[in-house]
C-alpha cells in the first residue's frame, strides 16, 4: 500500500501523529484522581472584592474546593512586597474585567462549570479606563517610556524636506487565539514535588516560574509539553491562571486540570496591544530619504508593563542620515498584553511600510524602485555590516512572480466592473538571533540516533528541522533519528520565541553530531578500522551498545562585528469592490531571505501561516471592547474574524536560500516572525493602488473602504 505519509525526507516527523490523533496535547493526559478546575472571573473592571460567597458552590455536587484570595495556599513570592507580576488570588484587587478571582474544583468539568456559576462576588467599584486612545489624549493619564528615544542626525529632519509625508496609523487589539485553548494540568505531590502538563513555549521557563512563586527547587518540578496546539507568543509566559491551578492542586492534594474557555482566551493570555503611530518621512525630489521620524504609543496594563520593538525597523531598514524614534506605553485597565507573532515589529512595519508607500506615491515613483534606491549597504544604526542580506534579489524574484509589471503606478487604473485591482509590496525584518542551548545525542549500535533538548514545538516543526540537520551531518536516515523535546528534565534550552529555535538548538545539534562523528572516528582508528567506517560497525566492533554526548552551544564573539537580520518581502494583489467595499486578496508572493533553508516544507508552512495571519491582521482581526463596561464584545470565533480558507488565495513562497556565513554553523536565520512582519502593509498598499483609498486604521473592513 502506498505510504501516505513520509513521501520524502522533508515531511514532518510528527505529521502522522498529528493527523491521526496520536499526538497528545496537555489537556489529554489522564492522571489518577484527576479533578477539574473552572475559573470564576471578575465582572467589574476595577475595584475591590468586598465579599465572595462560595457556599452554594461548595455544596454543589462533586465540588472539592473553591480556592480564592480568602483561602489561598502559601506562595512565598506573593507574600513579598511589590505588585508585579500579578499575584493571583493574593489580594482582593481587581485590575481588569474578566480577571480570575477564584477557581472551583470538582470531580467533573461540567460540575465545576455549574458550581462556578454559583459563586457570587460583590465589589467596591472604582473608576476605570480601558480606552487606550482616551488615555493617550488625557494629559493626566499615566504614560511610560517604552524604549529610550533614539536619534541619529537631525531630529524631525523630515519637516524641512522637499517632499514630506506625515501620517498616523492605528492598530486595534489582536488576539493570538491558537486553536488549542490554554490551560494546564498540575499535580502537587507530597514533599513539594510538582508535575505539570503545560501548554508552553518554554518548559524550562514554566519550571522556573513555578519554582520562584512557590520557592521550591526547580528540580522538584517536572514540566511536560510535548505537543502544543499553537502559541504565537501567548505561551511565552506562565500565566496567573496556571499558578492558580498549581495552587488548587496544592490545596486539595490532587491533580487539577484547567482548560480555559474561548472567551477567556481574550482576557487571560494576553494579546497584541493596540497601537497608535506617527511616521514622518522626508525625501529629496529625486527620491532619497532624508528624514525618518517614528513615534509609537502602545497599550499596556496598569499592573504590569509591556513593551515591544515597535520602532526598531525605522532605525536601520533604509539609508537615511536623520532618524529619530520614540516609544511610549500607555497603561489601561485591561489584561496585560504579550508578544504576538512578529511582535512589535509587525505593528511598526504596518506604519513604516505604509508611509514608505505613501512617500513613493508622493514622489510618483514605483514603491519598489523607491525601496531599492534607499536600500542601505550597511546598518547605520549599529554601524556594522550586515552578516548577509539579499534583499535586492528578493525584490526582483518576487516582482517577477507576482507580475509586478502589470501594476500601474496611478491608483485606480485597473478596473473591471465594480472590481478594482491593485498591487502592493512591503518589507519585513526581524533580528536573527542565536541563544545558548544544550543538546544530548545518543548514537546507538542499532543505527539510530536520539537527540534530546528541553525546547518546544509550538507548531513550526522543531523536531523536523533538528532531524534534518542531523540527517545531513551524520548521513543517518531521518526515520532512524528521534528528536525529543518538551520535557524539562532534558538538557536546558531557551523558550521558543523570537525565531531563534532553529538557530539556537540547531547549532547545538550540529555540535553534538560533529562530536559524535569524531568519537566514532577515534574509535575506528583505535580499533584499526577504516576512517570512513559506518558507526554501527564501529560500535559493534567496540562492543558498545551506544555512545552519548551532551553539548552546550552558543555563538562566538565574531557575531558582535555584524548586524544580523532576516528579511521578507511580501507582494500582494488585491481586488476591491468599490460598491460593497469588499477586499479580496487574490495573489500572494512572499520571499524569505533568511539564510540557508534547512527544512523546506516546514519553512514554507511558516511563510504560509504568516501570510494567513497577515491577511487577518490586514482585513479582519479586531478585538472590540465596550469601554463603558470594560468588556469584550466579540470574544468568540463567530465574531472575532480570523481568515477562513475562502479568504486565502494560492500563496507562492520563494526562498533566497543562501547560507549566512556568520549566524551559526548551518547558515540558517530564523523566519517565523518575518513571515508576518510587514504583510498587513502590503495589503494596505495594494488597496491604495487599487482604489486610491489609503486606509491607515486596521483592519480594512468594507465600511472603511466605503468611507475612504
Amino acid at each position: 500500500m502506498e505510504n501516505l505519509f513520509f513521501k520524502d525526507d522533508n515531511d514532518r516527523v510528527d505529521g502522522i501523529f498529528k493527523v491521526t490523533g496520536k499526538a497528545k496535547y496537555f489537556a489529554e493526559y489522564e492522571l489518577p484522581g484527576l479533578t477539574y478546575g473552572v475559573l470564576v472571573t471578575s465582572t467589574v473592571t476595577k475595584g475591590k472584592i468586598t465579599s465572595l460567597d462560595t457556599k452554594a458552590a461548595e455544596k454543589a455536587p462533586g465540588v472539592i474546593a473553591v480556592v480564592s484570595h480568602l483561602n489561598k495556599p502559601s506562595a512565598p513570592l506573593y507574600e513579598q512586597e511589590g505588585g508585579s507580576p500579578m499575584k493571583i488570588f493574593y489580594t482582593n484587587q481587581v485590575f481588569y474585567n474578566g480577571q480570575p478571582i477564584a477557581i472551583v474544583v470538582a470531580n467533573t468539568f461540567e460540575r465545576a462549570t455549574y458550581a462556578a456559576s454559583l459563586v457570587k462576588a460583590t465589589y467596591e467599584k472604582e473608576d476605570f479606563n480601558t480606552d487606550f486612545e482616551k488615555a493617550l489624549a488625557d494629559p493626566k493619564a499615566k504614560k511610560l517610556q517604552g524604549q529610550p528615544n533614539y536619534k541619529r542626525g537631525i531630529e524631525n529632519a523630515y519637516k524641512t524636506a522637499d517632499v514630506q509625508v506625515e501620517q498616523r496609523y492605528v492598530l486595534p487589539i489582536e488576539t493570538h487565539n491558537p486553536m488549542e485553548l490554554h490551560g494546564i494540568i498540575a499535580d502537587w505531590k507530597p514533599a513539594d514535588r510538582v508535575t505539570v502538563y503545560a501548554k508552553t513555549q518554554g518548559v524550562k521557563a514554566t519550571q522556573n516560574t513555578i519554582a520562584n512563586v512557590f520557592k521550591i527547587p526547580a528540580e522538584n518540578i517536572q514540566v511536560n509539553s510535548e505537543f502544543v496546539g499553537g502559541g504565537f507568543g501567548m505561551a511565552l509566559r506562565t500565566w496567573p491562571l496556571e499558578i492558580a491551578t498549581v495552587m488548587a492542586s496544592k490545596h486539595i492534594g490532587k491533580p487539577v486540570k484547567l482548560v480555559i474557555t474561548r472567551m477567556q482566551m481574550f482576557t487571560m493570555v494576553g494579546n497584541r496591544p493596540a497601537a497608535i503611530q506617527k511616521v514622518g518621512l522626508g525625501a529629496t525630489k529625486e527620491g532619497k530619504l532624508t528624514g525618518i521620524t517614528h513615534t509609537a504609543f502602545g497599550e499596556s496594563s496598569v499592573y504590569e508593563n509591556f513593551t515591544e520593538g515597535v520602532v526598531n525597523m525605522a532605525k536601520f531598514m533604509y539609508q537615511c542620515d536623520n532618524v529619530n524614534t520614540a516609544y511610549t506605553i500607555v497603561p489601561v485597565d485591561l489584561g496585560v498584553p504579550i508578544w504576538m507573532r512578529g511582535p512589535g515589529e509587525a505593528t511598526g512595519a504596518f506604519a513604516l511600510e505604509s508611509a514608505i508607500d505613501e512617500m513613493a506615491h508622493a514622489l510618483d515613483m514605483d514603491p519598489l524602485d523607491f525601496r531599492i534606491m534607499n536600500d542601505p549597504e550597511t546598518d547605520q544604526q549599529r554601524n556594522k555590516p550586515f552578516s548577509s542580506k539579499n534583499i535586492k534579489e528578493a525584490y526582483k524574484l518576487g516582482a517577477e512572480k507576482i507580475g509586478w509589471s502589470n501594476r500601474k503606478n496611478k491608483p485606480g487604473s485597473l478596473v473591471e466592473g465594480p472590481w478594482q485591482t491593485g498591487y502592493g509590496v512591503s518589507v519585513g525584518v526581524f533580528n536573527a538571533n542565536r541563544g545558548k542551548a544544550s543538546v544530548k545525542g545518543i548514537l546507538k549500535a542499532d543505527g539510530s540516533l536520539v537527540l534530546q533538548s528541553a525546547t518546544s514545538d509550538i507548531g513550526p516543526g522543531t523536531g523536523t528541522g533538528m532531524t534534518l540537520i542531523a540527517n545531513k551531518l551524520m548521513d543517518i536516515p531521518v526515520n532512524k533519528i528521534t528528536f525529543e523535546l518538551g520535557d524539562s528534565s532534558l538538557p536546558p534550552a531557551p523558550s521558543q520565541g523570537g525565531s531563534a529555535t532553529l538557530s539556537t538548538i540547531g547549532s547545538a545539534v550540529n555540535d553534538v553530531c560533529l562530536s559524535l562523528k569524531s568519537t566514532i572516528a577515534e574509535l575506528a582508528a583505535n580499533s584499526n578500522m577504516d576512517a570512513t567506517s559506518n558507526f554501527v560497525d564501529v560500535l559493534r566492533k567496540n562492543n558498545l551498545p551506544s555512545i552519548e554526548v551532551t553539548k552546550e552551544s552558543q555563538a562566538g564573539k565574531e557575531r558582535d562585528n555584524y548586524s544580523m537580520y532576516s528579511f521578507s518581502i511580501h507582494f500582494v494583489q488585491v481586488k476591491v469592490n468599490n460598491l460593497t467595499g469588499v477586499v479580496k486578496v487574490s495573489k500572494i508572493v512572499s520571499v524569505g531571505d533568511s539564510g540557508k533553508i534547512i527544512s523546506p516544507k516546514t519553512a514554507r508552512s511558516q511563510m504560509i501561516g504568516g501570510a494567513v495571519g497577515g491577511i487577518g491582521m490586514a482585513l479582519t482581526e479586531e478585538a472590540v471592547i465596550d469601554h463603558r463596561f470594560g468588556r469584550y464584545i466579540n470574544n468568540n470565533f463567530a465574531d472575532y474574524h480570523v481568515p477562513v480558507h475562502a479568504d486565502v488565495p494560492q500563496i507562492d513562497v520563494i526562498f533566497i536560500d543562501k547560507p549566512d556565513p556568520i549566524i551559526n554553523p548551518m547558515g540558517a536565520k530564523g523566519m517565523g516572525e518575518i513571515a508576518l512582519i510587514g504583510f498587513s502593509a502590503a495589503v494596505a498598499n495594494a488597496v491604495f493602488n487599487a482604489t486610491g483609498k489609503r486606509i491607515r486604521t486596521l483592519p480594512i473592513t468594507p465600511d472603511k473602504i466605503l468611507a475612504g
Binding site: 465582572t43 461540567e110 462549570t113 455549574y114 456559576s117 465594480p418 469592490n577 460598491l579 460593497t580 467595499g581 469588499v582 479580496k584 482585513l619 479582519t620 472590540v624 465596550d626 463603558r628 463596561f629 468588556r631 464584545i633 466579540n634 463567530a638 465574531d639 474574524h641 481568515p643 477562513v644 480558507h645 475562502a646 479568504d647 473592513t701 468594507p702 465600511d703 466605503l706 468611507a707
Partner: protein, 327 residues
C-alpha cells in the same frame, strides 16, 4: 450551564405534549444556537425535547407549492435538486450561511428561530432589553456596527441574523405551525416581529407551538436570481448587509420581482417600494439605482452602523446587476 433533562420524541404530537407539560422546556433541533445560548447562560431550559427524530424532513412539491419540513437540514435543502432548480435563491442564501458543518445539522425551523448575534444579548453582564426587558439596550450607544437601520425602536436595534429567512421572505413563503389541537399558517412576512415595545419577542410563534414546515409557491424566479452577502470575511461570517434579488424578464421588461434585505432589521426586510418601482421597467443600472434609493427611505444609522446607509443601496444595485447577468 445548568443541569437539564434530555427527552427524545418521534412525533409532532408527543413533542408538543411534552412541551405543554413543562413550561421550562424547549425543543432542540440542530442545537447550533440553543446550546451556545445555554453555555452563555442566556437560556436555561430544564428540559430539552429532542425533535430530530420527528419525521419532518421531507422536501417535495405538492401541487403548486414546495414543502420543506421543519427538520430538514440546511444543507439538505440547499443541495436538493428540486430547490436548486426551482428555488435557486433559497439554495444560494442557505449556502451563504454559517459553515458546511453547521449547515449539516442546523434545521429550517431552528434557523428561523435563531437569536440575534448582538454581543450584548449574549453577555449576561451587559444591559439588554431583549434578554432582560427593562435593563436598557447596550447597543444603541455602544458597539452597533452589525445592527439595524430599519424598523428599530428605542428598545432594541438588533438584526435577525438568518440568510435563509431573507430568501424565504422574498419568495412569499408560508409557515405551517401546529399546537396540540390544530395547525395554522402564517405568511413568512408576518412570522418575525419588529422590536417595538416588545424586544424580547422575535416572532409570532406561541410558546406551545411547533413549526411543521414551510411552503413556497412555485414561481418563475429561477433564472435572474442572486443572493449577495456582504460580510467581514469571505465565508463563515454573518451579513453586514445581504440582498436577495430575483426577477423574471418578459419582453425586455421586469415582469415579476422580489427583493429582500438581511442584516438591516429585526426581521427579513422586504423592499416593496423598490419592487413596485422596478416592475415593468428595464433591468438597467439607472433603474436599479432609483430602486435602491426608494428602498432606503426611512433608514437610520446609530453611529457605527452608519456605513450601512451607503452599503445597503450599493448592495441592492450589485445584487440586481449580478442577477441580471445570470444566463
Amino acid at each position: 450551564m445548568i443541569n437539564f433533562q434530555y427527552l427524545r420524541t418521534t412525533s409532532a404530537k408527543s413533542a408538543i405534549a411534552l412541551l405543554l407539560k413543562d413550561k421550562r422546556s424547549k425543543f432542540i433541533a440542530g442545537g447550533t444556537n440553543l446550546i451556545d445560548l445555554m453555555k452563555r447562560g442566556v437560556l436555561a431550559p430544564e428540559k430539552l425535547i429532542d425533535i430530530n427524530h420527528v419525521p419532518l424532513k421531507q422536501i417535495q412539491q405538492i401541487g403548486d407549492k414546495i414543502h420543506i419540513g421543519a427538520l430538514a437540514s440546511n444543507s439538505a435543502v440547499a443541495d436538493h435538486p428540486l430547490i436548486k432548480e426551482k428555488l435557486p435563491l433559497l439554495s444560494m442564501a442557505l449556502q451563504a450561511g454559517a459553515s458546511a458543518q453547521l449547515r449539516n445539522v442546523a434545521t429550517v425551523g431552528g434557523n428561523m428561530l435563531q437569536k440575534t448575534r448582538c454581543g450584548y444579548f449574549y453577555d449576561t453582564e451587559m444591559p439588554c432589553n431583549k434578554r432582560q426587558p427593562g435593563t436598557g439596550c447596550g447597543a444603541i450607544e455602544g458597539f452597533n456596527r452589525m445592527h439595524a437601520i430599519f424598523g428599530t425602536s428605542p428598545q432594541c436595534i438588533a438584526v435577525h441574523p438568518s440568510d435563509m429567512c431573507i430568501a424565504l421572505a422574498a419568495l412569499d413563503a408560508l409557515v405551517v405551525i401546529a399546537n396540540a389541537k390544530t395547525e395554522r399558517k402564517i405568511a413568512f412576512a408576518d412570522f418575525h416581529r419588529l422590536p417595538g415595545d416588545t424586544p424580547h419577542l422575535d416572532h409570532n410563534l406561541k410558546p406551545d407551538e411547533l413549526i411543521i414546515r414551510v411552503e413556497i409557491p412555485v414561481n418563475a424566479l429561477n433564472k435572474n436570481v442572486h443572493y449577495l452577502k456582504i460580510r467581514d470575511r469571505a465565508s463563515y461570517a454573518f451579513a453586514l448587509v445581504s440582498v436577495a434579488a430575483a426577477f423574471e424578464m418578459r419582453d425586455n421588461k421586469i415582469n415579476t420581482i422580489r427583493l429582500a434585505m438581511g442584516g438591516v432589521a429585526h426581521k427579513p426586510w422586504r423592499l416593496t417600494a423598490a419592487e413596485n418601482f422596478l416592475k415593468g421597467k428595464e433591468a438597467n443600472v439607472q433603474n436599479f439605482e432609483e430602486a435602491a434609493k426608494l428602498a432606503m427611505i426611512g433608514a437610520k444609522g446609530f453611529g457605527e452602523n452608519d456605513f450601512k446607509l451607503k452599503l445597503a443601496p450599493n448592495a441592492i444595485i450589485e445584487a440586481l446587476t449580478l442577477a441580471k447577468t445570470k444566463a
